[in-house]
Amino acid sequence: MDTNQYLDMFIEESKEHLQAINENLLQLEQNPENIEIVKDIFRSAHTIKGMSATMGFEDMASLTHELENVLDQIRNEKLKIQPEIMDIIFQSVDILEGMIYSIIEGSDGKANVSHLVDQLKSIAKGQVLSASSPVPPQATQSTQTSNAVASNNSAYMDMLDEYQKAIISQSNASGHQSFHIEVKLTKECMLKAARVFMVFDALEGLGEIIQSKPVAEDLEDEKFDQQFELIFITKDDSATIEKKLMNISEVESVRVNEVQISIGKEVDPMPTNQEAIATTPNVTASAPKAKAADNAANQPKAKPMGSKSIRVDIERLDVLMNLFSELVIDRGRLEQIARELGHSELVESVEHMSRISGDLQNLILNMRMVPIEQVFNRFPRMIRDLSKDLNKKVELEIIGAETELDRTVIDEIGDPLVHLIRNSIDHGLELPEERMKKGKPEAGTIQLHAYHSGNHVFIEIIDDGNGLDRDKILGKAIERGLLTEEQGNQLSDQQVYHLLFQSGFSTAKVITDVSGRGVGLDVVRSKIEALSGQVHIESKIGEFTKFQIELPLTLSIIQSMLVKVSDEKYAIPLSSIIETAVFPKKDIYLVQGQPVIDFRGHIVPLVSLEKVFKIPRPEEGQGDEMSVIVVKKGEKMAGLIVDDFIGQQEIVLKNLGTYLPNVFAISGATILGDGQVALIIDCNALIH
């Protein structure tokens, strides 16, 4: 089987399951008695095992297989959860993650797992012997061959694979019932496929069909006689199902039987030989249901049903966006024509179209939005490990994980956040003893807070640690020769904190394993700025440090200022612009041949776009004023000389493609309302 086409799906799903395992493991650490969590972990591990075996990643499959065995022992209460076991499970998950990432990079996903496999094996074996916890008699029958399923010998068992059995037992536990349904159509039935469809349709209103015999494809092609079988999960009872199905014409008979699957100690001694009983509904079904429902109510979290969704390749969305921006251009033309003609009906329908396409635009943009939860999810685990390494106690609070961000930003924001969080734990939070002395709670708190405000997303990382020491930072900066003591004294606190973002700047006295990796906060800043974002710092010594990241909602549509130089139009991102101004030419000064202006007390160098871009000009302009756009890069500024400001406009960002990489001072292009291409100026390249 050629499995390459499934590789993307496999990678995505494995990542999701590993993330789920990580989260569940952390929860389990808090509540080691909660077997439900173990079951969740088991299911994820089981899925990964199945998928990786199918895809031919043997090492992954064998490691998950052993993991599964250990988990199986735990969920059957033959094994007690101990910190050592948790650590080994965590390690296994790390290795699995590493394998996935190596597969993403194109390798075969092989890794030496024998050591871990041995450890897992010995846990599974060794602990079985010493386990003294009461083991229910049925459980002893189930062996450690992972999902030991004790089942009755009913005919429908061959319809189910291990995974489906697991689903059934799980849904039984959460108050759902599983039924085996046999539907017989009348001999005269002409459109069998249509009847099948009606049966499926009726059932889907009640619950979920997890298997059919023959398979759905054959049913659609009418490749069956008069009869077909289904496995169905629902909250309703068998009578309801039967009644509903019998209402469909040309259905001759319906037989509904409860499916019994028992795992380990949950074996239910209820007799299950009812399928011999003909069309009578299963009366006993309602009793266990009530019992199960009670159980469900007691469970801490019910799995949300999850809205239906499909995965869409981000490239397809990009294509959609491209097509749509074409439409927006045509809309602009239509609007103009309608205005010129003044035909009221035309104007009206064009206005209507504009509104609809506006809504469409929002919809398309929204499709690219993903909750930041995806990024935040990996932090609990990271903080667990870090706090162990550094002997610090850390509590993580996450607020606003549902805040949505453009997919492209989500992919990029993870690393800077990891860096800031490491920084907070390592440099910000004090050791427990120190905190106690100061009268603070023993465990430090790291707060991750995401929220929308206007057209921006804010992400804050706040720790209640020691705060930033202005004098210490200044001392270091002076020592490094970044500034003089006199200059330092004039800086505001904000400006002093921002010194931390200078390259090679570190206030750590001792280089620790965590933050002494040779990368400083300067990397964070450049990454954020590459995303057209900004970082702010607030702090109070002895109390807290707050890093605030401000990001645009999306990178594909930006606010820009359109300008004209000679006959050419350029777009300048609004995020780089401080101000637009008109200066008399006599206010230009020369500093060593470099023209500068005095802008609110700052000496700002002037950059002639005409010269930088070698823009041809038919005739020399003869004004005694010039238009200047003052732009910034960090703290530095420059004034770009242009001919005209056309105005502020939302533009759709497009790249210049692989043929024209790295064009100096051009970060991309956009298509204007008249269909022409305008280049986007990269101000960072123009400021030195």
């Binding site: 097509l323 493609g657 692989t658 024209l660 291409v677």
Partner: protein, 140 residues
């Protein structure tokens, strides 16, 4: 194999038809500053920003004013879509691959390395191009 014939000044060239996406009339080209002189700029090709190369400049052929015969051939090589400005393009012919001859040592103005071969069709001489070599941005 089928080739699309285009003209540069008074020479006729051929590109394989399956490398050609479309043939467009000349529309507004946005100049890209500080790139090679044969990079004419970019156009908006149905929503995709597409680079345009002036083949005349690329091959150091004398400048010819654009006129209503001037076309942009959009080609696609290794997932890169690029437009080539040519003096005219209006013919598709079938050629036999076996009749392609290696490029002569010296050919008028065009560097031989861009040429895959020449072929005689009736009394015309067609020059077949190595498109991916033409597209390498570094000019030797």
């Amino acid at each position: 194999m089928k080739v699309i014939i285009f003209r540069l000044k008074n020479e006729e060239y051929g590109v394989e038809i399956d490398q050609v996406r479309s043939i467009e009339r000349l529309s507004h080209i946005t100049r890209i500053p500080n790139t090679a002189d044969f990079v004419k700029g970019v156009i908006n090709l149905r929503g995709i920003v597409t680079p345009i190369i002036d083949l005349r400049k690329r091959f150091h052929i004398d400048h010819v004013e654009d006129n209503d015969q001037t076309r942009v051939i959009i080609i696609s090589v290794k997932d890169v879509e690029i437009g080539l400005i040519v003096d005219a393009a209006n013919e598709v012919i079938e050629i036999q691959e076996s009749k392609i001859e290696p490029p002569p040592k010296v050919i008028d103005s065009v560097e031989a390395e861009y040429i895959r071969g020449v072929i005689k069709v009736e009394n015309r001489l067609l020059i077949l191009l190595h498109l991916h070599k033409v597209l390498t941005i570094q000019e030797n």
